[in-house]
């Protein structure tokens, strides 16, 4: 008996190891110090821009999930603004004891801001430079934010094994703050919130195309629920076929096809159409209802979706031609599947115990497709729904009711580092851009 129990525990602990490795988190983090950038001249505008720059850079690096950022209180008093000002031994030994150091300077001259930034491997005094960059733009707070995002992404790209950072990515979501449910967009950190649609009806399920040029969503209009298409090249809604019946929850494949749920034949089933809306064909059949398709973002050869064919909604997967149907969840109430960028995981919203007297709540889970093993990501924090992966596969954005109203949050893919992104009105159904 004792032997058997030990075996079970070993299996559980080693299972955790691989989920951590699979998400790209949990391996040893790089110890990184980010010294405040210095002013390179005495222009009075430097102070405010430097504060913006330093805050944005620090937040981006902190959010990346791959760094162990050295607290600024450990830094030497003399922080460098130029490579010649570096005192290696002050940085590579305790208290900072860092292996990487980001530093640089910023200066405004003639309405233009110039930023020089470096990344040094301070444990390697012979050839320390990993990165050296210079940026120039108009001396505005917005431009400095973009420069800080770009520099942070460069650092994350180099030290994160060639995975692009997400500092310049966008999140699309539904907001009710104008009185109608409209599609909005914002930076990944919640800044720059802007309204996209102005339909004055109800718009749901925003899904940005892989190239970022078009946004598919479902909206109610004269004919009922239809798939709509917004073009960021033209900054307006563009024509897309009307299918009839109720058309909901579009999803883009990596090569630009769109899967969605349509009841044009009577029951809600999953359909696939070309980017233009043509060549429509049905993938599932029966009463369903089958909704919320999500493509395998790496291969584009599989689709996960929600089906109520056995009663309560459960998550299923199938090949992109509708064959090889498999059920992933075995109990409760499971909705909102979203496929990870590496094709290995699904994240979903799951009420594992559902029914009268059951103390279940909607929580987010991460499921390994191959083994069907899962981990719970949120705990005791209201209703959580609509998880969506970031393009780097290290973050998840989701909707949560933990503050008393529906708001959008982001977290690392292991459930840590939860950050609230929206505060105004009710905000739901986030969707992270592909790059």
């Amino acid at each position: 008996m004792v032997v058997a129990l030990l075996a079970v525990f070993t299996a559980i602990s080693s299972a955790q190891d691989w989920i951590r490795t699979g998400t790209g988190l949990g391996v040893e983090r790089v110890r990184l110090a980010a010294a405040d950038f210095k002013a390179s001249n005495s222009d009075p505008n430097n102070v405010n821009l430097l504060k913006t720059f330093n805050d944005v850079l620090w937040n981006d690096l902190d959010n990346a999930g791959i760094f162990d950022l050295v607290s600024k209180s450990f830094y030497p008093l003399q922080e460098p603004g130029q490579p010649s000002e570096i005192n290696f031994s002050a940085w590579n030994s305790p208290p900072p004891n860092t292996s990487m150091l980001a530093f640089g300077n910023l200066g405004v001259a003639g309405g233009k801001v110039t930023v020089q930034g470096w990344l040094y491997d301070v444990k390697n005094e012979k050839s320390p430079q990993v990165l050296g960059k210079q940026y120039s733009d108009n001396a505005t707070s917005d431009a400095v934010r973009v420069i800080a995002h770009r520099f942070a992404d460069e650092i994350i790209f180099r030290l994160g094994g060639g995975v692009n950072g997400i500092a310049e990515t966008k999140i699309y979501f539904v907001s009710e703050r104008t009185g109608h449910k409209e599609i909005w967009m914002m930076d990944y950190d919640g800044a720059n919130q802007q309204q996209v649609t102005h339909l004055g009806s109800i718009s749901l399920s925003p899904r940005i195309s892989p190239d970022g040029s078009r946004l598919a969503f479902s909206a109610i209009n004269k004919g009922g629920w239809e798939i709509m298409m917004y073009s960021f090249d033209l900054n307006r809604i563009v024509a897309f076929p009307r299918f009839g019946g109720m058309n909901l929850s579009p999803s883009w494949s990596p090569d630009g096809k769109i899967a969605f749920s349509s009841s044009r034949n009577g029951y809600p089933n999953i359909f696939v159409v070309d980017p233009s809306g043509g060549n429509s064909h049905r993938l599932t059949e029966g009463k369903g209802p089958d909704v919320s398709p999500s493509w395998n973002r790496k291969t584009g050869s599989q689709i996960a979706f929600v089906s109520g064919r056995t009663g309560l909604p459960q998550i299923y997967t199938m090949e992109s031609d509708g064959t090889n149907l498999q059920r992933l969840t075995d109990q409760g109430y499971a909705v909102s599947p979203n496929w990870s960028p590496n094709g290995q995981f699904l994240t979903l919203s799951w009420m594992r115990k559902y029914g009268g007297g059951e103390p279940g709540s909607n929580d987010l889970y991460l499921m390994d497709i191959a083994s069907k093993q899962w981990v719970q990501l949120t705990h005791d924090a209201g209703r959580n729904d609509f998880p969506c992966w970031s393009p780097d596969g290290r973050h998840i954005v989701f909707q949560s009711h933990r503050t008393g109203s529906d708001q959008i949050f982001s977290m690392l893919a292991d459930g840590t580092n939860v950050k609230q992104l929206t505060f105004k009105g009710a905000n739901t159904q986030p969707n992270w851009s592909w790059k």
């Binding site: 190891d17 004891n97 790209f157 180099r158 060639g162 498999q326 075995d330 499921m367 069907k372 093993q373």
Partner: protein, 268 residues
Amino acid sequence: MAASTDTGIGMYDADIYSEHAQLRRPLAWSFGLHVAFAAFVVLYATYIQGFRGSGWGSGGTGDAMGATLVSSVPLPANPEPTTNVLATESKGLSKSQPAVEEKEPDAIPIPDKNTKVKPKPVISATKRKAEPEPPETNQIPYGEGGPVSGPYTMTAGGAKGGFGFTGSGGDFGSRYAWYVEAVQRKVTENWLKYEVDPGIREASRVYLTFDIGRDGHPSNIQMEQPSNVPSLNQSALRALQRIDTFGPLPSDYSGSKVSVEFWFDYKR
């Protein structure tokens, strides 16, 4: 035994009976212990087992498949070694004090004249010998020492691996230590230990070689020397095949590729 009893039945009657009498006590003990053990088994199965329910640890029984519970808590914090003595989990950096033996003040040991064991001399704390060093944990102290130098090693859940880099000038590893570390992290995070046969406890070393092109794409992945466990060989190959890119080679590096030799040991 039976034969000797037959032959000696007339002569050793009394002895046989006395032997029977000698057996009675152990038999009683034996019977008593068996009853106690049976009672323990019944109690254990009824009470302790009963709390778990039938499905404990076995996942669901859905008709399609069972999802298996991994953990009720999310991913635990990364046990990073730290130089902070108060926060470290490393066995080497802080040692617990030996527990102080408490003696009852009034208890005086009764001297036994027959004893041959001499009382142990009391060793004062200052004279105590140093405790033996704890065995190596295969872990590189994090953030200590200077720039890394080859051969690079990595650990991943009981396995240990290493790298050798061959650039054009031969000093790739010392010039671009940060790149080597990024490669090492990438392989670690893509190596899924559950692909290895769970029955394997130890395997011989696997050697793989691959090239990294300027764009960071691994190519020419070859198994130089397989281990004696096929599933380990497969998982090592797949770890590398799963990687799209390690990130472009450093821009001031002149070569068109670097060759990497990569090995790892597996121990569960």
